[in-house]
């Protein structure tokens, strides 16, 4: 047992924080050193993250590299980390984006440089922490903590309307997550007697499982069969939908699903390039990840009832987001709305509850992080040169910036899911999963419309910005990408190709999580083949026993009440 056997995840999560401390000690005028240290930190973190990703054994236990120590035991909390396939993949994406974000911002950010890098490092820690948390409350803490550095990134280093966008972003997500907190506490209290219950994901899920199965049996049974439920199942019957709704709303805002998506375009438009990249790359996935990990498995019956509704929202999101893109004049807004459309695919794949759909959804999360992240990155380069986001201010850029154009067009193809790029695999699997699922065929057909619209708007934008003659004199002397910018872009392009041509290593790690997710989500589905309990139950490491902590004294004899 080496140090890394038990602490690898801790290292990955807190390394950025350690470097944040280093940065904090530097004088704020040493811009070069601040950048260098942040970059080195992110790179190191990338190395450890990749290590963790490869240590993840697809055929092994569901959660690996677990680490658990007692923490606020009185409240049923523990400090518990662990990775499953999906979390490992998203973790990889997060650490991958880290150094690139730093590189992308070296000239973009010109004031409060030290603070900016501090925010980046802290943000990195919170995102990684949220992904690896195995304790619901711990997840919530990271999930909320994420908001603060992001709020700063948008609010301090954003464009002209940054205050409005930052506040909108903050309040929107806060509304959802506060409701989620209520639901977390509620589900904790109903999940068992004092002493048995716990905020730990495994315990929580296992405690609810039997009740969920009972509830599913009666829900799919004859009318009124649920009236005779008792105990936890009855509670879940009454309050389950509300708790699910609270979770779902919180995550739906984060995703964002239609119609709670309007914070996204504003936040993206105003955010600096780093903010946009992280927002699109990782933060939106917290929503889908939350659905995958918490909302749906914990309340399969309520999720089943809400599935058609949510699926309709997802399809609306796909088509609506794509149509929105056609109406935009602002490039960043267009990319933001395309995120709405892409995330619609992720949600649809999740809601299909088939292994193809869920795998595709997970893969689509990665793809979106890469392709949309890269789009924001590239547009950031353009914005640095021209400081305008309007399509009409560009045109004919391909003539003066050929390398840039090539990179942008490749990423565009990835974004519109041309086969051979990563986007295709995700989209194909999601759509196939949707067709295979119990959702009506119309869902799949409408979602496939996004394929056409996606090409229409992305190519329209490429056309407007890059092709045609140069219509503005300012654009005549734009300089092409420099070495730093090429180095920042290259990993994205390599990944687009690698993930498109050799997706199997990635899919392999997602597959076990998918199987479990589908089994857990189909607990509530009528007619679905039900997995055995031992497949459903979450196996996690138990809390290591510790020395008896000081317990608060209790009164020896209570006040006697006179009868």
């Amino acid at each position: 047992m080496s140090f890394f056997d038990t602490h690898l995840l801790n290292v990955v999560i807190y390394l950025p924080l350690v470097f944040a401390a280093l940065v904090l000690m530097l004088p704020s005028t040493e811009h070069g050193q601040v950048r260098a240290i942040t970059f080195v930190g992110m790179l190191l973190d990338l190395a450890f993250g990749v290590w963790a990703y490869f240590r993840f054994e697809p055929s092994g236990a569901e959660f690996q590299m677990e680490y658990r120590v007692p923490w606020f035991q009185q409240f049923g909390m523990s400090y518990h980390l662990g990775l499953d396939g999906l979390a490992a993949s998203l973790l990889l994406l997060t650490v991958f984006l880290g150094p690139l974000v730093v590189l992308a911002s070296t000239t973009y950010i010109s004031h409060r440089i030290k603070e900016f890098h501090l925010a980046l490092l802290v943000l990195q820690t919170t995102m990684l922490g949220a992904l690896a948390s195995m304790d619901v409350l711990l997840f919530y803490i990271f999930f909320e903590a994420m908001l603060i550095p992001m709020y700063l990134l948008v609010g301090v280093w954003g464009a002209e309307d940054r205050r409005m966008a930052a506040v909108k972003f903050f309040l929107y997500t806060l509304v959802g997550s506060l409701l989620m907190l209520v639901a977390i506490v509620a589900v904790y209290f109903v999940s068992g007697a004092p002493g048995v219950r716990s905020f730990d994901y495994g315990t929580l899920y296992n405690n609810l499982l039997a009740a969920n199965q009972q509830l599913a049996a009666c829900t799919n049974g004859p009318e009124g069969a649920c009236a005779s439920l008792t105990g936890l199942a009855a509670t879940l019957h009454t309050y389950g939908p509300w708790m699910f709704a609270a979770f779902a709303l919180a995550f739906a805002i984060k995703v964002p699903m239609w119609p709670v998506h309007t914070w996204l375009p504003d936040a993206h438009v105003q955010a600096p390039v780093a903010g946009s990249m992280i927002l699109a790359g990782v933060m939106l996935k917290m929503g889908t990840y939350g659905f995958w990990r918490f909302a749906i498995p914990l309340f399969p019956v309520a999720a089943q009832a809400a599935r058609p509704f949510l699926a309709v929202l997802a399809v609306i999101g796909i088509v609506y987001g794509a149509l929105m893109c056609l109406a935009q004049r602002d490039i960043k807004k267009l990319i933001a709305y395309s995120s709405v459309s892409h995330l619609g695919y992720c949600m649809l794949g999740l809601l299909a509850v088939t292994s193809e759909g869920a795998t595709g959804s997970a893969y689509q999360m990665l793809n979106h992080g890469i392709s949309t992240g890269a789009l924001f990155l590239l547009f950031g380069f353009l914005y640095e040169r021209r400081h305008t986001r309007l399509m009409s201010d560009y045109g004919g850029i391909a003539k003066v910036m050929p390398v840039f154009t090539a990179a942008f067009v490749i990423i565009t193809f990835s974004s519109v899911a041309v086969p051979g790029t990563n986007g295709f695999i995700g989209e194909f699997l999601v759509l196939m999963g949707t067709f295979k699922s119990t959702l009506p065929l119309g869902f799949g057909a409408f979602a496939t419309l996004g394929v056409i619209l996606g090409a229409a708007y992305m190519l329209w934008m490429v056309q407007k910005v890059f092709f045609g003659g140069i219509t503005h004199r300012e654009n005549q002397h734009l300089r092409d990408m420099n070495l730093r910018e090429m180095l920042t872009t290259a990993p994205f392009i390599v990944l687009v190709a690698v993930m498109g041509l050799m997706p199997q290593p990635f899919l392999e790690r997602i597959a076990p999580s998918t199987e479990r997710y589908v089994a857990r989500a189909s607990v509530g589905a009528p007619g679905a083949t039900q997995a055995k309990d031992d497949q459903l139950r979450v196996e996690v490491m138990s809390l290591p026993s510790t020395a008896a902590a000081a317990r608060p004294s209790v009164p020896a004899a209570p006040l006697a009440v006179r009868e």
Binding site: S553, P555, A556, A557
Partner: protein, 100 residues
């Protein structure tokens, strides 16, 4: 042996009188004195219960209350002095600036 109830009743009475004073009197100094009164009522309760359970913890608590009361008195009186300097009055009616 005197039942604990009587001590508690006395404490309750003291507490309510202190509360009455806090709520009704206008002189900030008197208000502070009433707060001291309330604290003492609480102390009395602590001690009464300590006697009832035969547990020393009540005494410790009372000790802490006294310490906190001392701190509170010091700060509070300092504030009164500061306010008096700026406003020339210790009447709470005149000090209504705790609003936006």
């Amino acid at each position: 042996m005197v039942p604990i109830t009587y001590y508690l009743l006395l404490a309750a009475a003291l507490f309510c009188m202190g509360m009455f004073g806090v709520l009704v009197r206008t002189n900030a100094l008197v208000v502070f004195m009433c707060v001291e009164l309330m604290l003492n009522a609480v102390n009395l309760t602590f001690l009464a219960f300590a006697r009832m359970h035969g547990d020393g913890i009540g005494h410790v608590s009372a000790f802490f209350v006294i310490a906190v009361a001392a701190a509170e008195a010091a700060i509070g009186l300092a504030i009164v002095i500061a306010v008096f300097r700026s406003r020339g009055s210790v009447n709470v009616d005149d000090i209504r600036t705790m609003k936006h």
